[in-house]
């Protein structure tokens, strides 16, 4: 039985006393996708206050940035958010190129877009499988990983790794893609579209899932703006903020794609945003493959020892989870003075406390799953 002194009596908003106890959704928990601790003050099944405690996987990435040259820091960027590693490398490399005024050849830009979008799809597949695992459906995880395996094989063929790619270089790419990749990507796009349809009828239209997600965890536009939430979180609340449209970078202005936005702001809206984003990524990949120019993949005259002129440089990309921005402060040496990484998951997590007040525990877990948090992204 519960020990009596574990229960605290609080006075709730309407003046009535209630007994609460504190449960740790501990650092080790199947539903938190990493080492995140959430201290929940519960009143029976309802959450009175959920306080996230992060920092269990703080690896001092930004401090490492102050001790490594620009080329040496590049592998670190893949490991901040290992699920969408390409886009994070893109952010860093873009900042350095913008500072050094390097001209990236068009073929490299197109390949960067293709690989980033493939990475986005694989990240969303992991999110989808893990989210459904939290909700109790075990099978879609394996279907998602089957598709993801194909993406990883494609990217392994050109980069050599499957998760933390380190493929982009300052000024272009590490090496060029071959025909196997191009044909393989086309084949993948062709077989992925029916799979997305299958996911739709298996999961998205399923009445049990709809009951679980519709009107659960509503997040308003004002709350998103207050906490700086970006990515599918804010697009599921009705604000069409996508860094690819608002601050266009790389080759994105040349492609025709839709930024999916839904008004409701509940978990179902965020779910649908991500499913639709996968379809749009397929569109972008197809257009990029058609437009793929020939030419070099590395800029000319990239100095071996790169020293950026003194100043403050910033670059933002749309990662799978939201807006990822890199700010480099340089004092003219080959090692930056400061590398600031603005990660989306920290902002997305910060609205969990306010959004989950008064919810039931399983609903709060569904909300956390729909925020798509990757904990190393929060702690860096």
């Amino acid at each position: 039985m519960l020990v009596k002194d574990q229960l605290k009596t609080e006075v709730s908003a309407d003046g009535a006393p209630r007994e609460t106890f504190v449960i740790n959704l501990g650092p080790q928990h199947p539903a938190t996708h990493g080492v995140l601790r959430v201290k929940m003050t519960m009143d029976g099944e309802y959450i009175v206050r959920a306080e996230p405690v992060c920092g269990y996987i703080h690896r001092m990435q930004e401090k490492m940035g102050e001790n490594r040259t620009y080329a040496q820091f590049l592998p670190n960027t893949s490991r901040i958010d290992y699920l969408s590693a390409m886009t994070y490398t893109h952010g860093f490399v873009g900042a350095v190129e913008r500072a050094a005024k390097l001209q990236v050849p068009p073929r490299a830009e197109y390949i960067r877009v293709i690989t980033s979008e493939l990475n986005r799809i694989s990240s969303h597949l992991v999110w989808w499988g893990a989210f459904l695992l939290d909700l109790g459906g075990f099978t879609p995880l394996l279907y998602a990983f089957d598709d993801r395996e194909k993406i990883l094989d494609l990217l392994e063929g050109i980069t050599g790794s499957r998760l933390t790619y380190s493929y982009f270089r300052i000024g272009g790419l590490y090496n060029d893609v071959d025909d196997t990749f191009i044909n393989g990507t086309r084949a993948f796009v062709a077989q992925m579209r029916p799979r997305l349809k299958m996911y739709r009828s298996l999961v998205t239209d399923n009445i049990i899932l709809r009951k679980r997600l519709i009107e659960i965890g509503p997040i308003s536009k004002e709350m998103c703006r207050k906490y700086g939430a970006t990515g599918p979180v804010i697009r599921g609340s009705g604000v069409a903020y996508d860094v690819r449209r608002v601050e266009p970078y790389s080759a994105y202005p040349e492609f025709d794609f839709v930024v999916p936005t839904f008004e409701e702001g509940d978990s179902m809206a965020r779910y649908l945003v991500r499913m639709e984003e996968m379809a749009q990524s397929l569109r972008i990949i197809e257009q990029a493959l058609d437009k793929l120019a020939s030419g070099p993949v590395m800029a000319e005259k990239v100095p071996r020892v790169l020293k950026l002129p003194a100043g403050d440089y910033c670059y933002a990309v749309e990662a799978a989870r939201g807006r990822f921005a890199v700010r480099i402060v340089s004092d003219g040496k080959e090692i930056p003075y400061r590398v600031k990484l603005r990660t989306p998951s920290l902002s997305n997590l910060s609205l969990f406390e306010e959004a989950s007040a008064g919810m039931l525990l399983p609903d709060a877990l569904a909300l956390m799953g729909s925020l798509d948090l990757v904990i190393p992204d929060i702690d860096r």
Binding site: I23, P30, L135, G136, G137, L202
Partner: protein, 351 residues
């Protein structure tokens, strides 16, 4: 006097032997099934997920349940400090026994019911209520926040789903006119169009009735999508958190025995029990081979239902707790009341 004693013994002799054979048979049937349904579940789950499942232990993993049982038995039976010792130990046994006892009235074949009790159906449901108490005891005596929350949920879930189940069973009793399971099966003789599932001239919503029974059976045995008791990603292991080793093993076996019982009951009530779907294939039903054919059909139908239970578990996510209760109170109970009234009206009108 010796003659009268020998007369008495020869009159009694077949019956005790028969009972002993049945007890041994049912217990070994339940034991073997509880173990090998684990294999069916794991292989089924694997095939639905396009992977091979257990393959290492024995050919196609058939010795896997034995390895699992050996592992569970070799674990220490930890009884945590501060628990209610008697209740903690008794709870798994209490969950296992109703299933075993209720199987005494299920007709596996023509003469293969252990006891042909006239109120067999009532007896099964009387025993079924003990399950609820067993989980409550298990959760309560564990002295663990998570276990108690989970046990409370399970009690409200089971109570909510017993009501539509009983309403459906009352409808069936009304339609068939008897509570004796063997007679219910005998009424479904002929081809499959005589099965209670297709008896739409008495109750036009008979397939719906079967679905309600099936859903209630899933909820009573705490199977997905109604498995709040074992919601792994939410509350660790729910009501069974504090059980280790064979205590947990017995809960597991009890769950599978309950599924076995529920599917056997559904077969007997709705799908014609041991009746063959193609009518009287062989003339008279008295010879041994016909009894075996009856047993064969019973097992085929029961295992088909068990396969569909596994299929449903690995397809759907878990329902929300209030969604589960809403389903029962707001949808299943009105519909089953409606079918009850409808079938009684039809029976009155077309008598």
């Amino acid at each position: 006097m010796m003659a009268s004693i020998s007369n008495a013994i020869s009159a009694l002799w077949p019956e005790p032997l028969r009972l002993v054979l049945f007890v041994v048979g049912i217990m070994s049937f339940v034991g073997a099934n509880a173990a090998y349904l684990v294999w069916v579940e794991r292989k089924g789950a694997a095939r639905f997920q396009r992977r091979p499942g257990p393959t290492e232990v024995g050919w196609a993993g058939l010795l896997q349940p034995i390895a699992d049982a050996a592992k569970l038995m070799s674990k220490q039976l930890i009884v945590p400090a501060g628990v209610d010792r008697t209740l903690f130990r008794v709870a798994p046994l209490l969950m296992m026994s109703p299933a075993l006892m209720s199987l005494a009235v299920i007709p596996f074949g023509q003469h293969l019911a252990a006891r042909n009790i006239n109120v067999g159906l009532l007896m099964i449901f009387a025993f079924g209520s003990v399950n609820v108490m067993a989980i409550m005891l298990g959760g309560w005596s564990s002295r663990n926040k998570y276990a108690i929350i989970s046990a409370a949920r399970v009690v409200s879930q089971n109570v909510a789903y017993e009501i539509p189940m009983l309403l459906v069973v009352i409808t069936m009793i009304m339609v068939t006119g008897t509570m004796n399971l063997n007679e219910i099966v005998l009424q479904q003789a002929g081809g499959f169009w005589h099965w209670n599932f297709f008896r739409v001239w008495v109750n036009p919503l008979m397939p719906v009735t079967f679905l309600i029974f099936y859903t209630c059976m899933l909820a009573e045995t705490n199977r997905a999508p109604f498995d709040m008791a074992e919601a792994e990603s939410e509350l660790v292991a729910g009501a069974y958190t504090e059980y280790s080793g064979m205590g947990f093993g017995v809960f597991f076996m009890a769950e599978y025995s309950n599924i076995l019982l529920g599917c056997a009951l559904a077969t007997a009530l709705f799908l014609g029990g041991w009746q063959s779907p193609i009518g009287h294939l062989l003339g008279n039903w008295q010879s041994t081979i016909d009894v075996l054919i009856g047993l064969f059909w019973f097992l085929v139908k029961m295992y088909f239902l068990i396969f569909s239970v596994v299929w449903i578990r690995w397809t759907f996510p878990r329902t929300q707790f209030y969604g589960l209760l809403n389903l029962s109170w707001k949808i299943l109970i009105p519909v089953s009341l409606f079918t009850l009234i409808l079938s009684s009206a039809m029976m009155k009108l077309f008598r």
